[in-house]
């Protein structure tokens, strides 16, 4: 014991090295991944463009301008105008706000529902597990898009105002998205529960709430984060698909999907590519960046891949 306390004293005299938090360590690893960092910066640029860009636009959203209909890109209208004479760039930025918000909100909602239900179901097992998992199975056995189409059609039938539709679409997307997440979290929790450190929490007499929220869920966060990132991409795509089909966000509220829908005829498609190329490119690049970032995050978080 004596040699030991001497050792302790020696170590004390040295400068104390505070180890960085796990998140910082992850970020340091992520920084080494060039593709992921480029994606991250592109996404940041997209956010800035969508949320701050409109304030610098000289054009007012939804203001029609009959004199300047269907103009090709020019110095005053960088990305041209549409068939009502509205500035495409301004609409693109506003649509970005809507699409990104929907993507992220839908992701948060499905993560919230999915991880909570998954954690409860994996932790308590028994009848609770049975009910939640069968519910998830039922939802998962129906293909997502037709389900969304059905719900979109119902919304149209009920004549829900365009500004509320936005929120309903977030709910719809998370309704379709949670079962996969719940299963993922449940599986994780089932395997974590058998770990000795969970037995230790039992011996220590911790409450169920503490076990779930302090011990189990934080251990699922790395995987959740990756899935959540990819989920945002999925939600943006689903929203775009729905809006393109006229069942998602409806005009005049712009979204990347319904902007492309506006070019949904032969003449516009052939003669006025500035109508559909900008929103299409925006969707494509955003989704690709999110996926690349998700991959990078997975590599950064997975200790087995650490180099």
């Amino acid at each position: 014991m004596e040699t030991q306390s001497l050792l302790v004293k020696q170590q004390n005299s040295k400068t104390i090295v505070k180890s960085p938090s796990l998140w910082k360590q992850t970020y340091l690893r992520l920084k080494k991944n060039k593709m992921a960092m480029v994606s991250l910066f592109f996404l940041m640029f997209m956010f800035l463009l969508s949320f701050i860009g409109p304030y610098f636009s000289p054009y007012i959203l939804d203001r029609t301008d009959v004199a300047n209909m269907n103009q090709p890109p020019s110095a005053s209208h960088w990305l041209g105008t549409d068939n009502y004479g509205r500035d495409i760039l301004t609409r693109l930025m506003m649509a970005g706000q809507i699409s990104l918000t929907i993507g992220i909100a839908a992701m948060f909602l499905s993560i919230l529902i999915g991880s909570l239900l998954g954690a409860i179901s994996g932790f308590y097992r028994g009848i609770v597990d049975l009910v939640i998992m069968r519910l998830a199975d039922i939802l998962m056995s129906i293909p997502g898009l037709p389900l969304l189409l059905m719900m979109g059609a119902i919304l149209s039938e009920w004549k829900v105002p365009a500004e509320y539709r936005l929120y309903l679409i977030m709910i719809m997307l998370s309704f379709v998205g949670w079962p996969g997440l719940a299963r993922l979290v449940r599986g994780q929790i089932l395997s974590l529960k058998e770990q000795p450190f969970m037995q230790a929490t039992e011996v220590l007499g911790l409450s169920d709430r503490r076990k779930i929220f302090h011990h189990l869920i934080p251990n699922t966060v790395p995987i959740l984060l990756v899935v959540a990132t990819l989920n945002v991409a999925g939600s943006i795509l689903s929203e775009s698909a729905l809006s393109y089909l006229g069942l998602g966000v409806v005009p005049p509220t712009p979204s990347w999907g319904n902007m492309m829908d506006a070019a949904n005829n032969f003449m516009d498609f052939r003669k006025r590519p500035w109508l559909w190329i900008p929103p299409g490119t925006a969707i494509f690049l955003t989704v690709v960046s999110i996926n690349l970032l998700g991959d990078g995050l997975r590599d950064a978080l997975d200790p087995k891949l650490r180099r």
Partner: protein, 321 residues
């Protein structure tokens, strides 16, 4: 009998698994098959046996981490399987467990200080403001440096992690600790440090241990009373002196003859056991040890030997003692 801390009588733990489509129960694995012993206050009780003899199962069952199949476990006269949820929480403070594997028994995402302190706060032993001081105190007792407090478990070596696990158990000021092969995964020099830490802590705080090990020399160093297990049963139970000076059960004799002596010129008789430990699903009839016992007779295959007190405080289960 006021100094009796733990009283285990005829404890049984069978594991069953359903197999096939119709959920027919398979034959149970009799991990612990009728075990009785008592641990007194301040006693270090050693539990020795081969892998699969049910040592860890006993350790986990007497803390009620798992359910029992039969028998009784009393802690200070109270049956722990009859406790309400609130009483059980109270028991959790008084009894602790130190795990075999220090790598998997610490949550990788929780800082060392939080791991040691969270249960203390949860049980209201120390307030949130004072917990850091309390944690530092316990860490120092267990040979950890103050600057370790904000680190994550993966930044430590096996021996240090085991100290963290011990500190986590000690932080609650328990009266009884089950040590489930706490040094099995450490190398010999670290083993010695940790074992000395155990005896220091035990002396200072008047703790009682149930020390599970498959290493009889470790147990000899630390324990006052030793039970030898074979295939879910205790075959011999005696004080350390009695067990080492006059082992009675043939299995104990074989175990003791296998302990290395650090003297190359010393000669001694080595009892070699044939074969492996039989399956606990289908143990031999009569005496479970007969299939490997050098002096087994017909009687051993017919009758289960009674677990009886041969000398004072010296229990053996063998027909020929």
């Amino acid at each position: 009998m006021s100094d009796t801390l733990i009283e285990v009588s005829n404890l049984k733990k069978y594991y069953t698994s359903s197999k096939g489509l119709f959920k027919k129960l398979s034959d149970p694995v009799k991990a612990v098959d009728g075990v009785s012993f008592t641990i007194k206050k301040g006693e270090v009780f050693g539990l020795v046996g081969e892998s699969g003899s049910g040592k860890s199962t006993i350790g986990k069952t007497i803390l009620r981490i798992q359910d029992k199949t039969g028998g009784e476990v009393k802690y200070k006269g109270q049956d722990i399987f009859n406790l309400s949820k609130k009483e059980l929480r109270h028991l959790r403070v008084q009894t602790q467990l130190v795990f075999q594997d220090p790598f998997s028994s610490l949550n990788p995402r929780i800082r060392v200080g939080d791991a040691i302190g969270e249960a203390v706060v949860e049980h209201g032993i120390v307030s949130k403001q004072e917990v850091r001081a309390h944690v530092l105190e316990v860490m120092e007792k267990c040979g950890l440096s103050p600057f370790h407090i904000d680190r994550y478990p993966h930044e430590f070596s096996g021996g240090q992690r085991q100290r963290i696990v011990i500190a986590r158990a000690m932080a609650l000021n328990p009266e009884f600790i089950v040590m489930d092969e706490p040094v099995a995964s450490l190398d010999v020099s670290i083993q010695a440090q940790i074992i000395n830490l155990f005896s220091d802590l035990q002396r200072e705080n008047g703790l009682s241990y149930l020390f599970i090990s498959h290493d009889i020399s470790v147990v000899e160093h630390l324990c006052t009373k030793i039970a030898i297990m074979y295939l879910g049963n205790i075959v011999e139970l005696a004080s350390k002196e009695d067990l080492f000076n006059q082992p009675l059960h043939p299995y104990t004799k074989a175990l003791l003859s296998a302990v290395p002596i650090p003297d190359p010129t010393a000669k001694r008789e080595r009892i070699l056991l044939k074969g492996d430990i039989p399956s606990p699903i289908n143990p031999p009839s009569g005496c479970k040890f007969r299939s490997r016992c050098p002096s087994a007779t017909n009687l051993c295959s017919e009758k289960i030997p009674e677990y009886r007190e041969v000398n004072k405080d010296h229990f053996v289960a063998c027909h020929y003692v």
